[in-house]
């Protein structure tokens, strides 16, 4: 049986803080299969971004291992990351380059030949709706365009494993939906997608399976509907919109998260 494109095995990450040691990621294990979108759902500070830094090999794990297409990221980072596309949570665009050149330059880091890189860059800019900005400086783009460019850059080497950390933050609903469509297309092509998000709707819409992460630990993993049914049952839940006004609605992942951790997805912001 072939290796899953992404396998995370007992990943733990501790680091020193001013107050001592913080275990930001605690014994996290999961795998993402080809053609699957796997979500890490949790609020800011839950440990998602630290986990991603370990998964991409940027941070060394305190214990555990990460394998991309069977290659240990720490032992052979260059080989492992040849199959990896990353969109970080923060803006990491290279503002010294214009939009088109940025994609071509990034592709060279993956040994994509120049002509191929240019062809892919043109195609991606078209696909992400920013082809008319190809010759512009990155600084002249709007926040939403920069975000789309950063996701486009993650795709320029045609990765088989795509790691996206809050890719739709700052996008308006229309742009968010168009980005979702692109991710669905990538998944259909066979990419294994790891999506970190604190947007419940995004996780429900895109992810085949979701890991609910809290204080660095995975509290449960499953398909969105399965998680909801398992933890909330099939009946409606009551939500008090304002004093005296109660709304009965179907349960969602926010309710599951609240039940498992006692916190809301938009609440915690500590680590």
């Amino acid at each position: 049986m072939s290796q899953p494109p992404l396998r995370v095995v007992h990943l733990t990450k501790r680091y020193r803080t001013q107050d001592g040691f913080l275990e930001a990621v605690s014994d996290v294990s999961f795998e993402v299969r080809a053609g699957e979108c796997f979500g890490l759902l949790g609020p800011n500070g839950a440990g998602k971004t630290t986990a991603i830094h370990c998964i991409t090999g940027f941070y060394p794990p305190s214990s555990g291992a990460v394998f991309i297409e069977g290659v240990d990221v720490r032992a052979e980072p260059k080989r492992a990351r040849q199959a990896l596309g990353v969109c970080a949570q923060e803006d990491t665009l290279d503002t010294d380059f214009r939009v088109f050149d940025q994609l071509v330059r990034h592709a060279t880091f993956f040994r994509v030949p120049g002509a191929d890189a240019a062809r892919r860059a043109r195609s991606l800019l078209e696909r992400f709706g920013i082809a008319d900005k190809a010759g512009e400086l990155v600084e002249s783009l709007s926040g939403g365009m920069k975000r789309r460019l950063q996701v486009a850059r993650a795709l320029v080497a045609q990765p088989r494993v795509l790691v996206l950390d809050e890719p739709t933050t700052g996008l308006d609903p229309g742009m968010r939906r168009s980005l979702w469509e692109i991710l669905v297309e990538e998944r259909a092509k066979g990419a294994a997608i790891l999506l970190c998000t604190h947007y419940m709707e995004e996780a429900e819409r895109l992810c085949d399976r979701i890991a609910l992460i809290d204080s660095g630990s995975i509290r449960d993993v499953g398909a969105p509907a399965t998680l909801i049914e398992h933890h909330m049952g099939t009946g409606n839940v009551e939500e008090e919109l304002r004093p005296g006004v109660v709304w009965r609605r179907a349960p969602n992942l926010e309710d599951v998260y609240l039940r498992l951790t006692g916190a809301k997805l938009h609440e915690r912001n500590s680590a």
């Binding site: 990450k13 680091y15 630290t50 830094h53 991409t56 090999g57 940027f58 941070y59 060394p60 980072p77 260059k78 080989r79 990351r81 040849q82 990896l84 990353v86 970080a88 923060e90 803006d91 990491t92 665009l93 290279d94 503002t95 010294d96 380059f97 050149d101 330059r105 990034h106 060279t108 880091f109 993956f110 040994r111 080497a157």
Partner: protein, 258 residues
Amino acid sequence: MKLYEAMWGVRCVWLRYFDVFRKSLGYYLVTTFAEPFLYLLAFGFGVGSLIGSLESNGAEVSYRSFVFSGILGQTLLFQGFYEASYGGFVRMYYQRIFQAMAVTPITLSEVLWGELLWDASKATLAAVIIAAIGVATRDFPLYAPLVVIPVAFPAALLFAGLGLAVAARSRTIEEISYPQYLLVFPMFLFCGVFFPVERLPAALQWLAWALPLTPVNSLMRTLTLGFPFQWWSVPILAAWLVLLVAWSRRAMFGRLVK
């Protein structure tokens, strides 16, 4: 194979910087050469016409030639330090391109080597062009632009190491001003750019020789003006080179990687 792969990664990073340099050549030429050129005009031709010649390290030379050679060291100091400190801070903190490159098949170690080698390359290029101007004004022999390279490059790498370490240790870009005013400017003023170090009081001479710019200036004057070779310049320079490059990489790893 691993060394070849690492060199490929460093080359990718170096080429990224070169590409930016090539696309903004006019800007770089002005910002790189305006300052040393103004020093040359003011001190070499202006003050030099008042002083005439001076004796240093057992050799007599025109003040203009003396300063011209000192400007080579100053160029390496400023170009290496500023590109790595302010430029490095911008790339690490604001652009975050170290982080972006280090999740591709290029490792963070290669990114930092690429940064240091580019900073050193750019500063060396500036020094070579200044040396060529010195040839044109007949202050230096014809071969000067070539023979300075073996000293200029490690010296530039050393100052780039200092700059990158400072970038890594600074919480804000303003904090880079501390080492700039407390270390870089004093080196510029007291390490033999504008006057011979032996004119300083004895205690300050020791201090000047302990800093890296003095041996750089000494070696530059040996190569361009035929001054006697002060052998101790080489171990001092080598020690600073190893120390600062190692410190810069350690500090930057410490800053970026938890």
